[in-house]
Structures are given as structure tokens and as C-alpha cells.
């Protein structure tokens, strides 16, 4: 088990911990994110990155930041799981890429970029992964309408006489 004190002494006092039904969440600031993650991989055996995802807190009661980016880590030797969360804000939500630590981060970060518009510096190939290249919005942001802005119907019509 990684102890909170250990993390705090290495990476700064502002690291917070929360537990919900045996799941541990560690909140770190985006400044020390890369240090914490590489430390967790190198010294605490978190060799597997399960997922990266994000949450848009727009209009959420009591929320102070616009986005949280969430890293789910697994220590494959001990089975320990850890969730690392960090906050990013508009107008330029940006985080360091962790592709150098875990290869699996490549597509996961592309997905977060595609859906939330959070970019990752030093990512080898930060392109959209699900939406078409020419799509201009970030559909999982809460201020994007569920039914879109008309992108789904912005195509030429083929009638029977012409083809």
C-alpha cells in the first residue's frame, strides 16, 4: 500500500486522499502530476495504466475546477489499485503526456483530447481518435448539446436520378 504520508513527503503537502468503498483516490495538482505518476510507476510498482478519462464539472454544485482528468493505475504484483485525479481549467486545458511511462496512454490521451479538448504536451501523435478529423467541437463537454450543432446532417444529399 502506498501511504499518503510517503507521497506527501516526496511530492508536496497539497496531495489529498479520499476513500470511497475501498477505492482510493489521490488528488494531485497538475504541476506535480508527472512526478507523482513516474514515482508511482518506478518505486511503487504501478506498472499498468488501466484507463485515462476526464470529467466535466460544469454547473456541478460545489465544483471548483472545470475538468478532472483521472488516471486508473494497477500494481499487477499486489493487485493494488489507485486512482489519481488532477484538475485542469479553460481556456487552455493542458497536461503532460504519460506516453513515455505507459504505452497504453497513447490512445487514451487521444480519446480524452477528442472528447474533452484537453491536450497533452509531448504526446507523439495527438489527433482525434473517434470523431472525424474535420469535427470542430468536443462532444463530451457539458456545454456541447447532446444532439450536436448540426454536424450529423452536414452532408450532400444523393437522389436516385443522380446515382
Amino acid at each position: 500500500m502506498v501511504s499518503l504520508e510517503e507521497l506527501q513527503s516526496r511530492f508536496g503537502e497539497e496531495i489529498r486522499e479520499k476513500t470511497f468503498r475501498d477505492n482510493r483516490f489521490i488528488d494531485v495538482s497538475s504541476g506535480v502530476l508527472l512526478d507523482v505518476l513516474s514515482g508511482l510507476k518506478a518505486d511503487f510498482g504501478f506498472s499498468m495504466l488501466i484507463d485515462i478519462t476526464a470529467i466535466d464539472w460544469l454547473d456541478y454544485e460545489g465544483a471548483t475546477d472545470r475538468f478532472s482528468v483521472v488516471y486508473l493505475l494497477l500494481n499487477v504484483e499486489t493487485g493494488e489499485r489507485l486512482t489519481i485525479r488532477t484538475a485542469v481549467n479553460l481556456p487552455d486545458p493542458q497536461l503532460p503526456s504519460v506516453c513515455a511511462l505507459w504505452m497504453s496512454a497513447d490512445w487514451l490521451e487521444r480519446e480524452v483530447y477528442d472528447m474533452f479538448g484537453i491536450s497533452f504536451s509531448d504526446h507523439p501523435d495527438l489527433r482525434r481518435i473517434l470523431m472525424p478529423e474535420e469535427f470542430a467541437a468536443f462532444p463530451l463537454r457539458k456545454d456541447y448539446p447532446l444532439k450536436g450543432r448540426g454536424e450529423r446532417h452536414n452532408f450532400p444529399v444523393i437522389t436516385r436520378s443522380e446515382g
Binding site: 470542430a136 447532446l146 450536436g148 448540426g150 450529423r152 446532417h153 450532400p156 444529399v157 444523393i158 437522389t159
Partner: protein, 201 residues
């Protein structure tokens, strides 16, 4: 009347002969993008046996097909592919829109799902259901044969008159209103400038 025809020769119209041949050898192009595709496979498999109606030759090249079966939801990223496949099919060709999703978007009224393929490609036959049972698809194929027999011509003259879309206009009133209400019409967002802006951010 003494017209001396030898045995095994009979007279018909060219249209009727062509329709007879065409309707009994529809070669489907399976455009199966979702769960309806499974039902389409079941239709072709032994229990329901699409072969009884001469339509068992599923070809995976549009160049060899004359019946497009759109089975499943079509998302905006897939729609240009669907249109391209339709255009690549040689004349004469027909289209069956199978299932609620292909016909109207079904329950997937979201930013990514096209609300009915008939907005963008011509559709001859709609099969309701989610998913339609194989019998329903068989019924549609039989109806399709009937339609070919009744309206078909050798040179495909019947298609020339269909110069409007068979579905609602892409931005029908409902869609217009919705976009306007949110004062969100931003189709310019598709410009290259907007994309690069996002990419550099």
C-alpha cells in the same frame, strides 16, 4: 392464328424479361454496422434461407451488388462511406433500409448518429423493428422483387423521375428549430481554420 413458333419459344416484353431476371437474382450488399447485422446474417443462414428468393449471394464488393441493405445505425463518420458504396454500385440498384436506426436513427438521437439514411441516399424499402425479425426482412426482399417486377425497365427509366430525396431534408424543421433555439448553428465549424485552431491549442 397461325404463327408457326417452334417449341420452347415464347414472346414477352424486354422489360418483363429483364425484371424477371433481375428480381430473382438480387445480390445484396450487406452494410451491417450494428445489431441489425446479426439479424441480416440470420436471414441469410439456413433457418430462414434467403436463397429461396435468389438473394443469397452477399457480395462484399459494391461493384458486384444491386441491393444495398443498410442494417444498423449509421454515424456521421460512416455516412460518406455509405454514400460512396452506393455510388459504386452499378445500375440498376435498390436499397433496403433495415431497422429503426437506419430508417430514423432509432433511439440514438445524438450528435453522431444520422437520423435516417434516407436523408442522404435513396431508399426503396423500409423495414421497421428493432431489430426486425428475419421474416420481416424476407418480406421486404419479396416486396422488393414485386417492386422491381412492377416498375422496372430495361434502361432504368423509372429512376430518372426520382430527382428528390426520398427522406426528410437533412435539416428539417425540427432540426433547424432545435439548432436555432440554442442559437448554436455553427456549421462554419467544419472549416479547416477551426480544426487547426483546435489542434494547436
Amino acid at each position: 392464328m397461325a404463327v408457326g413458333l417452334p417449341e420452347n419459344i415464347f414472346i414477352t416484353r424486354l422489360d418483363a424479361a429483364a425484371n424477371w431476371a433481375r428480381s430473382n437474382s438480387l445480390w445484396p450488399m450487406p452494410f451491417a454496422t450494428a445489431c441489425c447485422g446479426i439479424e441480416l446474417m440470420a436471414t441469410a443462414a439456413s433457418r430462414h434461407d434467403l436463397a429461396r428468393f435468389g438473394a443469397e449471394v452477399m457480395r462484399f464488393s459494391p461493384r458486384q451488388c444491386d441491393l444495398l441493405i443498410v442494417a444498423g445505425r449509421v454515424v456521421m463518420k460512416m455516412l460518406p462511406v455509405l454514400q460512396r458504396i452506393w455510388l459504386q454500385m452499378p445500375e440498376p440498384k435498390w436499397c433496403i433500409s433495415m431497422g429503426a436506426c437506419a430508417c430514423s436513427g432509432g433511439v440514438f438521437d445524438t450528435y453522431a448518429v444520422v437520423q435516417g439514411v434516407d436523408r442522404f441516399i435513396p431508399v426503396d424499402m423500409y423495414v421497421p423493428g428493432c431489430p426486425p425479425r428475419p421474416e420481416q426482412l424476407l418480406a421486404a426482399v419479396i416486396d422488393m422483387q414485386e417492386k422491381v417486377r412492377r416498375t422496372g425497365t430495361v434502361m432504368g427509366r423509372e429512376f430518372a423521375a426520382r430527382d428528390t430525396s426520398s427522406g426528410p431534408t437533412p435539416f428539417d424543421l425540427q432540426e433547424e428549430h432545435r439548432i436555432e433555439d440554442a442559437s448554436l448553428i455553427q456549421l462554419g465549424g467544419f472549416s479547416a481554420a477551426a480544426t487547426t485552431m483546435k489542434r494547436d491549442a
